[in-house]
């Protein structure tokens, strides 16, 4: 019988241990995978986020190219040296990568002395001005009127190229339609490495006049003013904005053909070409492996922390399950013991009754003495059984709070005396006395109060040596309390046991309770007292005696 019990619990502990091992393995695997994924992710980001760096770095250039360059057209050819200088100033102030601006003031007419001409339409350079960063407000006039001999070859080439393009456009354009975006880029822009040249786009009416001048024999026309600007750009002055400092340690602008000769195996790099006029250059981005692995660690930390916290929670749950199992197993053991005891308690009277019954049946003649003897035995044992059952029953009732209190006003002296009388008859060697101090009536359920008295008187008798069967019941009142004291001269209770005696099914192991005790009496008393709203406590000295003290609420009479 005892073999099954520990076996069933031991199995559960194994399960918990198994569970703990499993989640620990999972934790390790999860940490490993998470670390690897983070590393992969960082590597991916390293090669893909360069686009964001490029976009951010090239933003001022795009702004310049899409907004500031075509703004020239807004001036409709009315730019002169003063306004061009102001325009150049705003450009220099805002765009650090613009090094140099050359402003060509152009005249278009059908006069024959033009620098570049097609049919009868000619483009003439009126003046050219150069603006440089950090220059005195007076710009350098590099050319004015006449033959452009003092114009540098490069500038002259730029002017000629644009003038030819423009004339081609006038020749081929359809004045009934708006200029298409393709034509715009082909004819009015010239984008070469590190240089953008732009010519303002003439209005439709102007274009029509140009076409007429080109193809018709007309008297000398007025001079139509147009503007052309060349911007020299320095890619190295582009401000690199590292929007991902966590990924890229170093970013630089390098020629398209640049390859690092750094042989450090620890260095990883990637690059992306710049657009437009900077297309001969690229962004070169690099980081050391250590830097990236630091970043990996940095990003991995929160993931690890969350994995660990999940692990801790799981462990905690496992511990709680373990604790629950433990408590349950103890409860199980207690009840098991109780049933064992109870069976034993029931067995004794039942076997006595059986023997008595057998004796009566087998006896041929039953003498009077025998009859009274058996009768007494049967009566006593039946009482014992009845008592046991009553106790169990009321205990269950109290526990379930299913009994009803039937209060009545009792005269304490009478109540106690009656009980004492009963016990004197039962145990003639039991000396019970009582003291009633300043109190006469008490309103309570006499049955419940009787049960408490029964239990305590019974205990006092049971746990007293034969020569010291003495009990004093003292009843007093204290404010709104009524206090019952049961003072015996019994064996007393060891200090270590004091805290246990009110527990259910608990019995101190000694010679006094070998028979007829279930370990329920005091637990029952405590339940009763609690049920009636009171308290029970005990003071005891080993071998000298114990004092049980019961406090119940009491409404003093006025």
């Amino acid at each position: 019988m005892n073999d099954h019990q520990p076996l069933s619990y031991r199995k559960n502990y194994l399960l918990i241990v198994f569970f703990l091992i499993l989640i620990s393995i999972s934790l390790v695997v999860a940490l490993y995978l998470a670390h690897n994924l983070t590393k992969k992710y960082i590597e991916n980001e390293f090669s893909s986020n360069k686009i964001e760096v490029l976009e951010e770095t090239i933003k001022p250039y795009n702004d310049f190219f899409q907004k500031k360059v075509p703004e020239i057209t807004f001036y409709q050819g009315f730019l002169d040296s003063a306004s061009a200088s102001k325009y150049a100033d705003t450009i220099f102030r805002k765009y650090s990568f613009v090094e140099n601006i050359i402003f060509y003031d152009i005249q278009i007419s059908n006069h024959s002395l033009s620098h570049v001409s097609l049919h009868s339409l000619g483009v003439e350079l009126k003046s050219a001005l150069q603006f440089k960063r950090h220059m005195s407000p007076d710009s350098v006039r590099i050319f004015k009127g006449g033959i452009p001999k003092n114009l540098f070859a490069e500038e002259a080439r730029e002017f000629n190229k644009m003038a030819v393009k423009f004339l081609e456009y006038v020749q081929s354009s359809d004045t009934t339609k708006a200029i298409s975006n393709d034509d715009l880029l082909n004819y009015f822009y010239s984008i070469t490495p590190k240089r953008i040249t732009y010519m303002n786009i003439p209005g439709t009416d102007e274009l029509r006049s140009f076409k007429d001048l080109m193809f018709k024999e007309l008297p000398p026309s007025i001079f139509y003013e147009e503007d052309m600007l060349t911007y020299d750009l320095d890619p190295f002055r582009l401000e690199i904005s590292n929007v991902h400092p966590e990924l890229y340690q170093q970013i630089s602008i390098q020629p398209l053909v640049y390859e690092s000769i750094d042989t450090n195996p620890d260095l990883i790099s990637t690059d992306i070409p710049l657009p437009g006029a900077f297309s001969d250059y690229k962004l070169y981005l690099s980081s050391s492996r250590k830097f990236l692995s630091d970043e990996t660690t940095y990003r991995f930390m929160p993931i690890a922390a969350s994995l660990l916290s999940i692990y801790i929670v799981l462990t905690l749950i496992a511990y709680l399950i373990y604790r629950n199992l433990n408590v349950n197993s103890r409860m199980f053991k207690l009840q098991y013991d109780f049933i064992n005891n109870l069976t034993h308690e029931f067995k004794t009277p039942v076997s006595v009754i059986k023997i008595a019954g057998n004796n009566i049946r087998s006896a041929t003649i039953l003498t009077d003495k025998q009859r009274t003897h058996y009768g007494k035995i049967l009566d006593e044992e039946a009482d014992k059984l009845n008592g046991l059952m009553n106790k169990l029953l009321s205990f269950t009732q109290i526990e379930n709070k299913s009994i009803q209190i039937k209060n009545e006003n009792i005269i304490l002296a009478e109540f106690v005396q009656r009980l004492i009388n009963a016990y004197q008859i039962k145990y003639p060697d039991f000396n019970i006395s009582f003291e009633l101090l300043d109190i006469r009536f008490f309103e309570t359920d006499p049955v419940l109060l009787g049960s408490i008295f029964d239990n305590l008187i019974e205990n006092a008798y049971k746990y007293s040596p034969d020569d010291r069967r003495d009990l004093l019941i003292r009843i007093s009142s204290e404010k709104k309390l009524i206090i019952f004291r049961f003072i015996d001269k019994g064996i007393g209770i060891p200090d270590s046991e004091i805290s246990n005696i009110f527990k259910k099914f608990y019995r101190i192991q000694n010679q006094y309770n070998q028979t007829g005790s279930v370990g329920i009496g005091l637990a029952f008393c405590k339940e009763l007292v609690n049920f009636m709203g009171g308290k029970i406590s005990v003071k005891s000295k080993l071998d000298k005696g114990s004092e049980f003290r019961i406090e119940l609420p009491y409404e003093p009479e006025n």
């Binding site: 057209t73 409709q76 102001k86 708006a178 209005g203 439709t204 009416d205 102007e206 006049s209």
Partner: protein, 628 residues
Amino acid sequence: MLRLKYFCLIVWIVVAGCSRQDTVRQISLEDFFTDPVKTSYLISPDGKHISYLQSYKSKLNIFIQSADGKKVSRITNEIDRDVSYYFWANNNELIYLKDKTNSDRVHLWVVSKDGKTSREVLSEDNIRLKFINPTRIWNDELLISLNKRDSTVFDAYRLNIRDNKLVLAVQNPGNITNWYTDQEGKLRMAISSDGTNETLLYRDSESDDFRPVITNNFKTLLAPISFSGDNKETIYALSNQGRDKTALIEFDCKKGREKREIFSSAVADVIDGVHSVRRKTVLYAIYETWKKQRYYLDAEKKAVFADLEKKFPDTELTIVDRDSSLKKFIVRTYTDKTPGAHYLYTLSDHKIVKLSDINPLLKEDEMCEMKPISYKSRDGLEINGYLTIPKGTNGLDLPMVVLPHGGPSSRVSWEFNPEVQFLANRGYAVFQMNFRGSTGYGKEFWTAGFKKWGTDMQNDITDGVKWLIDENIADPERIAIYGSSFGGYSALHGLCFQPKLYACGASYSGLINLFTYMKSTPPYVKPSLEMYYEMVGDPERDADYFRAVSPVFHTDKIQVPVLIAQGGKDPRVNVNGTNQFVKELKKRQVPVSYLLKDEERHTFKNQANRREFYRKLEELLANNIGNN
């Protein structure tokens, strides 16, 4: 019982709600922007026929009816081009000009009143034609000016409508901008201009040479109306020479000075002196305060108008045409609430017969009153304007549309404006103002607007809006600004530089770039370039100012939703500039709605395009300052 009470309450609320809505019916957009069916009414010299233009196969053609309204017939058969202009040459023939859209060819035709015979009298490529003295023909000869010899100058010609013979009458030395005839059709007066200054030229007879009489700066007006009755050197003219407000005067061309002032007003310019060809005198002067006023110089005319005013109280009246015996008149009426109608008025019996309504779809009692207002600008200048309050409101805390006029050398007048009425019908108050630089309030007020685009002129608009906010008329959170041409410029400028004031804005052919505006001056108006430089600015010398006030340079300041309408062939606004402008706004995530019509010019001609624009405008306003 209680339930019944609640039911009654709910019914009452619903009924009350509906009945309130009923007072302001939302009239469909199409009804507002409908081209009139019959336009350009004229009466034949003998008074027996009435002519008008009406659409036939979607092109305008000349129709004729008898004076009693019977016997209607179409006398032209134009299915490619509209008839753009016509008049009676005599009792039996009409002269008309075909629309020259999509070609620079001039087509001048003569048609008999029964429509049986018609012939072309002038047809020439790549020229422009101006009538020197429309509606009058002497000896079958029509006086016109053409830029035939040189595209930049207009010479005067006599065109014989019988044999189509075109004879050069006077060659333009190059600077003459206007030609004038005397009572007998002789070319005896001209105006020449060097761009900034205008010179009046005069001669005693056509055999003499023109002689300069007086030269004025363009800011000073001396506009001949006609020769006076004796047909000698005295002329009637409008002039503000030596005065602020233009007056009607008699001017001596020999002495070169003013003979006498006939009439002037202390508050407004005289805008017209109505001259009678037959009576050879000026009958009355017109000046415009909040409404047009007449000053009579002729008792007979005064009586005619007295009778008409009795028949049409509080109405603007215009005599559109009359027969040669001055017995029958075609009268056009209108008020702020109705575009009015054309009537035939017979002097003998004072009978008035309605010919046709301009727009019969709109009911006068559903339209809103256009109230004259005036306020002080920040520098103390008095600004006049009009406020239209939507019907069915208490006139307080209203969503408002600010509507600056175009030009800017023009003015907003008390008249039926379908745009204003459309906006008012949608529940918006409409605020129009004559900011400085507007005409009609004297020389000083006009010139105060010179080179003040986006500065003082814009302040006048802003101050008016603030005044209306202070008066609790406008809800400061729900103000929109919209205009076309210069008005569109003001709208965009307002959005750029008073971003907190306006919740949204719309520009229709708005002048977004002053450089482009200056560049657009075509070669044949080159003489007036200097004048434009003085009025608007010199694009080279005033480049900083141009840059500072041109919206195209300030797209980064616009924060609120914008509607922009642009014609692809607009000569004054470069479509590339507007495209760039819109692109910038889009890039900055500003909600912008762009209506680009490739075939349209500065003003949308196509009715469908116009309606599309107004639908978009309606949507923009409803979303941003609407009542819901």
